[in-house]
C-alpha cells in the first residue's frame, strides 16, 4: 500500500480512538451526576483507589523526603545556605514531586487493577449482563471509578506532601543538624497558596488521567486473556507517560 495512505489510515484510526475515549470520559462524568446515585459504589472505589494506596504513598513520600533532605543539604551547604533546606524540600515536593510521584504510584497499583478488572468483566460477559438487567455499565462501573480518582488523588497528594516534608525534616534537622526554626519557619514564609493550589490542581488532573485511561483500556480490551494482559501493560505505560507529559504542560501553564 502507498505509504501516504498507510499514514493517513493510522492517523485517522488514532484520532478515532481519541475521540471515542473523550466521549467515554464525558459520558461517564455526566452519568455520575444523574440519579440514581450509588454512594456505596463510590465509597468502595474510593477505598480501593484512595485508602488502600496509603501505605505505598506513605513509604514513597517518606523516602523521597529523606533523599531530598540529604541531597539538598549537600548542595545547599556548599553555599552555606543549609537554612533554606526546608524551603527547598517543601517547594520541590508540593509543586512537583508530590503530585507526580503519588500519581505514578497509584497508576501502578490501582490503574493496572482497574484495567484488569474491567477487562475480565468484559471477558465474562458481565457488561451485557448489566445491559440485560437494564443497568448502564458506564454509569454503574466506570463513573464511580473516575469520580473516585478525582476525589482521591488530591487527598493522597496532600498526604504525600505532609509525609515528604516530615521525611526531609527527619534527615535535615534530626540527622544533619539543620536549625529546626529555620527549616520550618522559612518554609512557612516561602510557600504561597499558589504553590499548593498548583500542586493540587495537577493531582486532580492526574486523578482523571489514571482512572480514565485505565477504564478505557479495560473497556476496549480485546476479550481474551492475552488482550486483557496487553491492555493492562499498555494502560500503565500510557498513564505514566501522560502524567509526565501533562505535568510539563501544566507546569508551563501555571508558572
Amino acid at each position: 500500500m502507498d505509504i501516504t495512505a498507510k499514514f493517513g489510515r493510522f492517523t485517522l484510526n488514532r484520532l478515532q480512538i481519541l475521540g471515542r475515549s473523550g466521549i467515554f470520559l464525558l459520558a461517564a462524568i455526566f452519568q455520575a451526576f444523574l440519579p440514581p446515585f450509588r454512594i456505596r459504589r463510590l465509597v468502595k472505589e474510593i477505598e480501593f483507589i484512595g485508602s488502600k494506596s496509603f501505605l505505598i504513598v506513605f513509604v514513597t513520600a517518606l523516602f523521597t523526603g529523606m533523599v531530598l533532605g540529604i541531597q539538598g543539604y549537600y548542595s545547599l551547604s556548599q553555599f552555606g545556605a543549609e537554612a533554606a533546606l526546608g524551603v527547598m524540600v517543601a517547594l520541590s515536593i508540593i509543586r512537583e514531586l508530590g503530585p507526580v510521584l503519588c500519581s505514578l504510584m497509584v497508576a501502578g497499583r490501582a490503574g493496572s487493577a482497574i484495567t484488569a478488572e474491567i477487562g475480565i468483566m468484559k471477558i465474562t460477559d458481565q457488561f451485557p449482563a448489566l445491559e440485560m438487567m437494564a443497568i448502564d455499565p458506564l454509569k454503574y462501573v466506570i463513573s464511580p471509578k473516575i469520580i473516585a480518582g478525582i476525589l482521591s488523588l488530591p487527598l493522597l497528594t496532600a498526604f504525600f506532601n505532609l509525609v515528604g516534608i516530615a521525611g526531609g525534616y527527619l534527615v535535615g534537622v534530626k540527622l544533619l543538624g539543620v536549625n529546626e526554626g529555620a527549616y520550618l519557619g522559612k518554609m512557612v514564609l516561602a510557600i504561597t497558596f499558589t504553590d499548593i493550589y498548583g500542586g493540587i490542581l495537577k493531582s486532580l488532573c492526574f486523578g482523571v488521567l489514571i482512572t480514565w485511561i485505565a477504564s478505557f483500556m479495560g473497556f476496549t480490551a480485546e476479550p481474551t486473556t492475552e488482550g486483557v494482559s496487553r491492555a493492562t501493560t499498555n494502560a500503565v505505560v500510557l498513564i505514566s507517560l501522560s502524567i509526565l507529559i501533562v505535568d510539563y504542560i501544566l507546569t508551563s501553564l501555571l508558572l
Binding site: 460477559d125 458481565q126 451485557p128 449482563a129 440485560m132 437494564a134
Partner: protein, 261 residues
C-alpha cells in the same frame, strides 16, 4: 411475543443474519439450533437489543426494539431475563447478592422481602444453602443455575438462554433442561434457547429454528424437524461429518493451494 422481520447483519464481509424472519410465540420454548458461526448468538444479541442490526426490525409485544431510545429499551429489558453462556455472575458479590442485584437496583423492596424472594428463586433451582458462597466456589452447572435464578428474579415475561447446556455433564444438562421446561410451564414464561445440543433441544423444544451461515434453513416442531427431508438438516441433527455442510470454510481448492501457492 417477539417478531423478527427482515433482519440483516454483517460483520465486515461475513453475513451473520441474512434477511431473517421468525417468531417466538408466547408461552412456548423456541430453540435456535445451529453450528458454531451460524449466527445464532448474534441473532440472540439482536433480539435482546444488545446489538443493532444493519436493517430490519425486532418487535417485542408490538414495539420495535431496534428504533427505541435507551430509556425505553431499558424499561423493556426489565421484562426480559437472560442466562449467559458463562453465567456472567458478578465475581465480587456472593450468590445471594448476585441474585438480589436486580431487585436492589430497580425496586425499593425491603431487605426481609428480598431475602424471601431470593430464597424462593434458589429453591426453584435447587441451590438453597449456597447464599454465602462466592461464584468461584461453585461448579459450572451450579453457576448456570444461579445465573438462571438471577434471570428470573424480576419475574420476566421472556427468558433467553445462550447455550445453557454447553460444557455441562449429562446430569447437569438434564437438570437445566428440566428447569427450562418447568419454568416455562409453571410460570408460563416464553423461552428462547440458543443451542447446538440436539438431544436437549428435542427434549425441551416446542418450536425449532435451524440457522446455517445466517440463513434459516428449517423451522418447525420437533417432529417436523426430525422428519425433514433437507439434507443439511439431516446432517446437522445426526451429527454427520460428511454432507452438504462443508467442514472447511475456504472455497480455495486444496490441491491448488498446496501445489501452486
Amino acid at each position: 411475543m417477539i417478531k423478527v422481520e427482515n433482519l440483516v447483519k454483517r460483520y465486515g464481509s461475513l453475513m451473520v443474519s441474512n434477511n431473517l424472519n421468525c417468531h417466538f410465540e408466547k408461552g412456548k420454548i423456541t430453540v435456535i439450533l445451529g453450528g458454531s458461526g451460524s449466527g445464532k448468538t448474534s441473532l440472540l444479541r439482536q433480539v435482546t437489543g444488545l446489538e443493532k442490526p444493519d436493517s430490519g426490525s425486532v418487535y417485542f409485544n408490538g414495539l420495535d426494539l431496534t428504533t427505541m431510545g435507551r430509556k425505553k429499551l431499558y424499561d423493556t429489558r426489565k421484562k426480559m431475563g437472560m442466562l449467559f453462556q458463562g453465567s456472567a455472575l458478578f465475581n465480587y458479590l456472593n450468590i445471594f447478592e448476585n441474585i438480589a442485584f436486580p431487585l436492589r437496583e430497580h425496586t425499593k423492596i425491603a431487605d426481609n422481602i428480598i431475602k424471601t424472594i431470593v430464597t424462593m428463586k434458589l429453591e426453584m433451582v435447587g441451590l438453597r444453602g449456597t447464599e454465602k458462597l462466592m461464584p468461584s466456589q461453585l461448579s459450572g452447572g451450579m453457576t448456570k443455575r444461579v445465573g438462571l435464578a438471577r434471570a428470573i428474579v424480576m419475574d420476566p415475561e421472556i427468558i433467553f438462554y445462550d447455550e445453557p447446556t454447553s460444557g455441562l455433564d449429562p446430569i447437569s444438562t438434564g437438570v437445566i433442561d428440566k428447569l427450562i421446561k418447568d419454568l416455562n410451564q409453571a410460570l408460563n414464561i416464553t423461552s428462547v434457547v440458543v443451542s447446538h445440543d440436539i438431544k436437549s433441544c428435542f427434549r425441551i423444544a416446542d418450536n425449532i429454528i435451524i440457522l446455517f451461515y445466517g440463513d434459516i434453513i428449517a423451522e418447525g416442531t420437533v417432529e417436523e424437524i426430525k422428519n425433514s427431508k433437507d439434507l443439511r438438516v439431516k446432517q446437522f441433527i445426526n451429527g454427520e461429518p460428511e454432507g452438504p455442510i462443508p467442514f472447511t470454510r475456504t472455497d480455495k481448492n486444496y490441491l491448488d493451494e498446496i501445489l501452486f501457492d
